[in-house]
Amino acid sequence: MDTEEIQRVGEVIRSATSGFTAQCYELDRFPHLGGLVKTKNIGAQIYGIVFNATTGGIDPGRKPLARGKDEVSEEALYKSSPQISKLLKSEFEALVVGYKEDNKVFQYLPPQPAPIHSFVYLCPTQEVIEFSRSFEFLYTLLNSAVTLPHEELIAAVLRNMSLVQEDKHAFLVSAGKHLATILSGDFNRLRTILERIRQ
C-alpha cells in the first residue's frame, strides 16, 4: 500500500462552504473526533475538522437489526451474514476551518466548497504542525453550528494536535492563552475547555 492509501479516509458525498460529509471506504473506519482532514478543490486544499461520525443503513427506510445472538464474536457475525456490510455505511462530518493555496495556509473559509466525490485524507504530521502554528481556527470552531458542545470539540482538536507537537505542554499553554483572549469575558467556558486539555 502506498502512503496515500493509508491516509485516505473517505469521499465527499455532501458539500457546503462551511462543511462537508464524507463516506468512509470501510465500515466504522473513521478518523478521530477533532482530527484534521483535507480535501482538494481546484488549486486549493480545504481543511476540515472531524466532528460527527455515524454508521447506519444505506436505505434510510431499513433499520439495522441485532443479529449476533447466536454468534461467538463480532467477526463471526460478519462472516455468517456477509451481506450486511453492503447494506451499511459509515459517514463523518467535517467543519471547514481553512484552506491552503500557493503553499499558504489561510484559517478562514475558502472561496469555493469542496467538489462532491473529492477524496478526503488524514493530514500527515507535518501538515498538522504547519496548520496549528496559528490558532485563528479556534474562533471558527467556537462559532460553528455543530451538534455537540463546542468545548468538547475544541478540547478534542487540541488534544489531537498536541500529540504531534515537539513541545506538547507549550503548545497547549499557548492555545489556552489564545482561548483566554477570545473568551476573555467568559471564564467558565474557558475553564471547561482547559480542564479537558490539561495533562
Partner: protein, 536 residues
C-alpha cells in the same frame, strides 16, 4: 554591546499629562517590575524614554476575582497569566531619544506627545541610559548609578555650574559625602574654581564617616589643586592639616552690611541695625571698635542723644558687637588681607577650602562667609564688567559652597544678602552657589525656584519635600520617589543639568579604590594622577 532587552508589554492607553498604561506580556512577571525603573517605548515615529511610576494587577473577567480558579493547577495558572489575569504599569515618558529629527541632531528631547497604541515597551538598556545621561568624558562626571542599575549616571559639570544649585536632605543622609564628591568632579571637569565655607572642617582635609572612620578629603587627594585656609590654626595643626593660610579679620574690615545679616543670630533689633549705620557715619572705618568701646560716660550719653539712639538699643548693639569681638580670629589688626589671599589663589586656579575648626557657631559662619563673599563678589563683578567692555579677561568662574543655607537665604533676608543676589542672577558675574541644607523649607521660595539643579536625599518633613519640588512638573510622582529613598546614600536629582529626574545611588566614597577611581576617570589633569600616585 549589551543584548537588546526583551519586550515586556504594550501601551494600551495614556495621556500626555499622566503618562501611559502598559499591559504586561504573559511571560513578564509583575514582580520583576520596580517603580523607578527606566523603560523605552518604541512608538511609530519616535522612541520614548520613561520611568515606571506604578505597578498594578488586573483581570478581564470579574469571575476571576470572585471565584478564583484552582491555584494548585499550574496549567490553568500558566494559561491565565497575562491573559485573564495580567499586570499593568503606569509609565511616565520624559524624553524622546531618537527617531525624530530633533533628537537625532540635538540628543534627547522633552516629550510633548504619547506613544501610539500597542507600542512595545522594554526595559532601558545601558546604551539607552548612556544616550540620555551621557558617558564619562572630559565634561561629564560619574556621580553614581540609577537605583537598581549598573549603568553609570553622569553629570555635565560645566553645564551644572552655570547656575546655582542645591543639595538637600535630612541629617545623616549623605549630603556631605555627595558634596565632597561633586567638588572633586568640579575641580576636575567643570572649568571653574571652588570656594568652600567648610563649617565642620570636612572638605579640605580628613572628614569622618559615621563609623568614626576618617575619609580623605580634597587636599589629600589633589594637593596641587586645593588650598586649605583655616580660621582656627591650633585646631588645624592638632588635626595634622597642612594649611596654606590662616584667616584673620580686622575690626576695620567689618562693614554695616556684614552685620545686618547677623540680625537674627545676634538678636539685634531693627533699631540696633539702624544704629550701626549711624555709627559708621560717625566713626568711619573705625566704627566697630569705637562703638564697642564706648563706655557709660556722660559723653556717650550725649552722643547717643544726638544720634537719637535709645539706651536699650545701644545695649542691644553692644552685646552683639561683643559677641563678635570674642571670636578669636577677629583682631585689632591683621597682617595680611584674607580677601586678597583668597582671590589670589582663585586666580591661580586653586580651589580654596576655608575650615572653621572649633568655631562652628553659626554667628562666626555667617559673618565670615558673608564678609568674604561680598568682597570677592564685588571684585568678580568689577573684573567681569571690565572684561565685557573689552578690558582684560573675565575671571575664572567661581562656585561658592555654603552650608546651613537657610540662614543666609531665608525669606526675611534673602532680598538683602549677597547670597540672595548671587542665587538670583545666574552667573552674571561668573559666580554661582552650591548650597547645602537640611531644612529647605526655610529657604526663600523664589531663591529655591531659581536654583538650576537640585539633588535631594531623604527628607522627613512634608514641607521640606514640597519646597524642594516646587515648580517641578510631575511633582506628585517625584514626591513618591523622594519619599521612598533609603535613609542613606540615595538621592534624587532633577533640574537644569539633567535631561530628566533620576533617583540614584551616589558613588561610594571612602575606600582606597574609591580614591583611585577618582583619578582614573577621564580627566585632563596629569598632575591629579600624580598626586594620587604619590599618596599610594
Amino acid at each position: 554591546m549589551t543584548a537588546e532587552n526583551k519586550r515586556m508589554g504594550i501601551v494600551v492607553s495614556g495621556s500626555s499629562n499622566k503618562g501611559v498604561e502598559v499591559r504586561l506580556d504573559a511571560d513578564t512577571s509583575v514582580e520583576d517590575m520596580v517603580v523607578g525603573r527606566y523603560v523605552t517605548i518604541e512608538g511609530q515615529k519616535r522612541r520614548f524614554f520613561g520611568m515606571i511610576t506604578e505597578v498594578l494587577l488586573g483581570v478581564t473577567d470579574l469571575n476571576l476575582t470572585q471565584t478564583p480558579p484552582d491555584t494548585n493547577d499550574p496549567f490553568i495558572a500558566e494559561v491565565l497569566a497575562g491573559t485573564g489575569t495580567f499586570g499593568t504599569l503606569q509609565v511616565m515618558p520624559y524624553l524622546t531619544i531618537g527617531g525624530d529629527i530633533d533628537s537625532a541632531v540635538e540628543g534627547p528631547q522633552p516629550v510633548k506627545t504619547v506613544p501610539s497604541h500597542y507600542s512595545a515597551v522594554k526595559l532601558a538598556d545601558d546604551r539607552d541610559i548612556e544616550l540620555v545621561f551621557g558617558k564619562e568624558d572630559k565634561e561629564r562626571f560619574w556621580i553614581g548609578n540609577p537605583l537598581d542599575m549598573e549603568t553609570k549616571l553622569c553629570l555635565n559639570l560645566p553645564e551644572l555650574v552655570k547656575r546655582s544649585n542645591g543639595i538637600f536632605g535630612k541629617s545623616g543622609t549623605g549630603k556631605t559625602f555627595l558634596t565632597r564628591m561633586l567638588l572633586i568632579g568640579m575641580l576636575q571637569k567643570s572649568a571653574c574654581v571652588n570656594l568652600v565655607f567648610d563649617m565642620h572642617s570636612e572638605y579640605g582635609w580628613a572628614g569622618t564617616s559615621e563609623k568614626g572612620r576618617s575619609v580623605k578629603a580634597l587636599k589629600q587627594l589633589f594637593p596641587s589643586k586645593v588650598a586649605v585656609f583655616t580660621l582656627d590654626e591650633e585646631n588645624s595643626r592638632n588635626r595634622g592639616v597642612s594649611t596654606d593660610f590662616v584667616v584673620k579679620i580686622g575690626y576695620n574690615e567689618i562693614e554695616p552690611e556684614d552685620m545686618s545679616l547677623l540680625r537674627q543670630t545676634l538678636n539685634l533689633t531693627d533699631a540696633a541695625v539702624e544704629a550701626i549705620y549711624q555709627m559708621r557715619r560717625k566713626f568711619g572705618n573705625e566704627w566697630f571698635i569705637r562703638t564697642s568701646e564706648l563706655d557709660d560716660s556722660e559723653e556717650t550719653k550725649k552722643l547717643l542723644n544726638r544720634l537719637n539712639i535709645h539706651e536699650s538699643t545701644f545695649q542691644n548693639l553692644q552685646r552683639g558687637l561683643n559677641t563678635i569681638k570674642r571670636l578669636p580670629f577677629i583682631q585689632q589688626k591683621t597682617e595680611q588681607n584674607a580677601v586678597h589671599r583668597v582671590i589670589e589663589y582663585l586666580n591661580r586656579g586653586m580651589n580654596v577650602v576655608l575650615e572653621f575648626g572649633r568655631y562652628t557657631d553659626i554667628t562666626a559662619y555667617i559673618l565670615v562667609a558673608n564678609l568674604l563673599t561680598r568682597r570677592i563678589y564685588s571684585q568678580y563683578r568689577d573684573k567681569t564688567e571690565k572684561a565685557m567692555s573689552g578690558a582684560g579677561e573675565s575671571p575664572v568662574p567661581l562656585v561658592i559652597t555654603i552650608e546651613e543655607a537657610h540662614k543666609f537665604l531665608n525669606h526675611d533676608i534673602a532680598e538683602k544678602t549677597i547670597f540672595g543676589t548671587i542665587a538670583r542672577e545666574m552667573r552674571k558675574y561668573n559666580v554661582t552657589l552650591l548650597v547645602i541644607d537640611q531644612r529647605p523649607s526655610g529657604i526663600d521660595e523664589e531663591i529655591m525656584s531659581q536654583m538650576g539643579t537640585k539633588i535631594s536625599c531623604l527628607l522627613d518633613n512634608e514641607r521640606d519635600m514640597d519646597s524642594v519640588l516646587s515648580g517641578v512638573s510631575g511633582k506628585s510622582e517625584l514626591k513618591s520617589v523622594l519619599a521612598k529613598l533609603s535613609a542613606k546614600q540615595q538621592a534624587l536629582i532633577f533640574g537644569h543639568a539633567v535631561p530628566m529626574p533620576v533617583a540614584f545611588q551616589p558613588r561610594e566614597y571612602g575606600s582606597a579604590e574609591s580614591y583611585k577611581s577618582f583619578s582614573d576617570t577621564v580627566n585632563d589633569s596629569e598632575q591629579a594622577k600624580k598626586d594620587i600616585e604619590d599618596l599610594w
